[in-house]
Symmetry: C2
């Protein structure tokens, strides 16, 4: 249960590759594709979204590629996933775009809300820097 789509997964892995070139080495999409084993065409969709949301910028022409707009330590996994898949919304009640139909208080509303907050809280504390440094292996984060 609670599977993350491949877009989100690949997005994080792509950002990880781009982060490794920060701040001055643009990473071409082809390189990301080879290293992370994801097709160039699919990556384009993902990186486009991340670029439009301001997480990365692109440099055209030979020697070009993608570069982070902020320090790896300032880009959380949560922010990447939110741009690609929207906010955590365990149920449709909690999706800002849908909302709850049932007027009376739903017994499980608070449950899913708490869970969502727990998840986002965690994802917002982990950054690309942590991924590069392997912080997750070292402490109890």
């Amino acid at each position: 249960m609670l599977r993350l789509s491949t877009k989100g997964q690949y997005g994080v892995r792509a950002m990880f590759e781009i982060a490794k070139g920060y701040p001055d080495k643009p990473i071409p999409i082809k390189e990301i594709s080879e290293r992370q084993d994801v097709s160039v065409a699919y990556l384009e969709q993902i990186l486009n979204k991340l670029r439009n949301r301001g997480l990365i910028k692109s440099i055209k022409g030979p020697g070009g590629g993608y570069v982070l707009n902020k320090k790896p330590a300032n880009i959380s996994i949560g922010s990447i996933l939110r741009e690609l898949e929207g906010p955590v919304a365990i149920t449709s009640c909690l999706d800002p775009e849908e909302g709850c139909i049932r007027v009376d208080g739903c017994v499980t509303y608070m449950l899913w809300k708490s869970l969502g907050e727990k998840i986002e809280g965690f994802l917002d504390t982990v950054s690309l820097y942590d991924l590069i440094e392997g912080t997750l292996y070292k402490n109890s984060k």
Copy 2:
């Protein structure tokens, strides 16, 4: 992102209704259907699964219905969801039935694993009793 399927959601809500009759009042499926606004036929599938896994038992004939097999305080939301949707598996790498294809250490493996553990940890601390008593509203659980 990370939406729970309706089967899981309805399952928890159905268990909540059944819990209210514990220990001696069987709740007929029709009553659950009306109170939680889910079709009888769909509920049948869900309750069948929960019965086969031993969380509830059924009593046939007039006056029959479903009854919990354990105290509400001893049935966690996590256990209900696991029976209906399998274990938390943010990515296919972490699904016991699939496993990771990439032999080399995936940079994000630990990330998704930690997240999954956080989620299951939370869901295992909340019980049907908490749902009935509204514990989530009262403390910081």
